[in-house]
Symmetry: C2
Subunit: 307 residues, 2 copies
């Protein structure tokens, strides 16, 4: 195989209680990417449709992630990349992770799968480091593995795929305001109360148990964030109203996607997810801020070949 076209899923990191450790992949929101083997060494970003992003390999997240892969490979050629960028950068649904994960997953396929998913996550984390100064794994892990993933530990990196109940559907609203990941980390305190910590790890345990048991009520009860959401939600106009209306419309839970500004809700079933989308639209229309809205099943496959 000399060329591959892949779908690179958008992802929701943190998932309320799981700050820096939990993430999930979306099924109908993502970029498309063509990766092609070249005789010339290195990575060449040929073109990026849809967004104004740097084409220089060292300044592009897929370039940097691809270079990390090439360094560990005995392949003596290179790759060229074309990206149809449908996830807006800065939206909080893993735009950079989709490009990083998509690039290394596609390259691994073209090389005959010499690398494990865990190794691909490590390469893709280099793209995350370029994008936000920190080599996060909570977006690239679900983008590579699909479904829900838990980053149990960074040192050593330990990614645990978590089963996804089939009726779970995500609704995501992206207000067109800019919140930089680096800024939204700066406003977090470096200490938390032990009391809130206990609540948080109780909820992480509850969410993982709920996902294994397909217990939608337990999933909903566990989708609470006592630590980050109260601080970060200040940056997102109308957050409290969006959330309370989403819950009234039947969502299991609602919170900030990654570092925001996107807000996600999880529902049982497509109909409820649609009602939640409608309530989000109605709420946000009042604020006069343009927004995109997505309804998506959970992608249990991660990056996938589409041609």
């Amino acid at each position: 195989m000399e060329e591959i076209k892949v779908f690179c899923p958008a992802t929701i990191a943190n998932v309320s209680c799981g700050f820096d450790v939990l993430g999930l992949a979306l099924d109908s929101v993502g970029d498309e990417m063509i990766v092609r083997k070249t005789a010339e060494k290195g990575i060449c970003i040929l073109k990026i449709l849809g967004q104004d992003l740097p084409l220089e390999t060292e300044k592009n997240v897929s370039g940097v992630a691809g270079l990390a892969l090439l360094q560990k490979s005995d392949y003596d050629g290179g790759f060229e990349i074309e990206i149809d960028k449908r996830i807006k950068p800065g939206s909080g649904i893993g735009s950079s992770a989709a490009s990083s994960a998509g690039a290394v997953w596609a390259m691994n396929e073209l090389l005959g799968k010499p690398f494990s998913p865990l190794q691909l996550v490590k390469f893709a984390m280099q793209g995350e480091k370029l994008a936000s100064d920190v080599a996060h794994a909570d977006n690239v892990a679900p983008a590579i593995y699909g479904g829900f993933t838990l980053v149990r530990s960074y040192d050593p990196l330990d990614i645990i795929p978590i089963p996804t109940p089939s009726e779970l559907v995500a609704t995501v609203i992206h207000p067109q305001i800019e919140v930089k990941t680096s800024d939204s980390r700066k406003i977090l305190k470096t200490t938390i109360s032990l009391e809130k910590g206990i609540k948080q790890w109780g909820n992480v345990g509850g969410l993982i148990a709920g996902l294994f048991q397909k217990d939608y009520d337990l999933i909903g009860r566990s989708l609470q964030d006592h630590i980050v959401e109260p601080i970060r939600s200040i940056l997102i106009p109308g957050f409290d109203e969006i959330k309370s209306n989403a819950l009234v419309s039947g969502a299991l839970g609602c919170g900030i996607s990654g570092s925001g500004p996107s807000i996600f809700a999880l529902s049982k079933g497509l109909e409820t997810a649609k009602s939640v989308a409608q309530s989000m639209k109605e709420t946000y229309s009042k604020f006069g801020i343009p927004f995109d809205i997505h309804i998506s099943k959970i992608n249990t496959q991660g990056v996938k070949k589409i041609a």
Copy 2:
């Protein structure tokens, strides 16, 4: 049924990463208790074998837990209790929880099971409040439900039973020194770093996933406590040596049981648990402190009728 004899299991709270939320029940370590219906209202503690504990109802944890149950019951009689107290108070393996949970479980059986397990936990928590000023659920929940339990939330109380892999065996060493629960809470800081919090909830998620998947390696990797153990272990002579030798002997993980001074290890299989016990004995013999040692499967039933 007018009388019942029950086994009341010892329990390990916290289980390394799950401070205040996780617990498990032991199978071969526990008290025995006889509870009998009486025409006279109220609770009468007839006798306590093995330990010098108060017989006055309001000063005894099983009395206080029993009174909490009676208050919510339309039963117009009372109960008398005899306790064969085999778990030493202050050992850190849920001595007060065994008495509280055993009493209310037995009473519920005698009354034809009007109360749910969750209600029994709430009654038993009143005994815990008497014992340590705080109405903990992390020992009484596994004592009532059996196996591993997660206290996802206290408000409202939400107990999640977690499956127990069948080959898991606990080794517990109880050094005969006194560490009061209230003292061992006082030395904890009320704030923690966000960085350590993230590690802790990553491990809680990993432990729950490992228990569901019967993944003993993942269980072992997740049995880490970055927050409480570094502080509390200072109160337990030889803790670091016991722990490192237990791990060398094959234990999956090792930590402080509840607020100590008991130290627990979890192993895959009885033979490994025995080797761990041997290593603990050898290590502790050097310290000249008397100790008890227990090897026990995980009790998946909780308090149970034995006659």
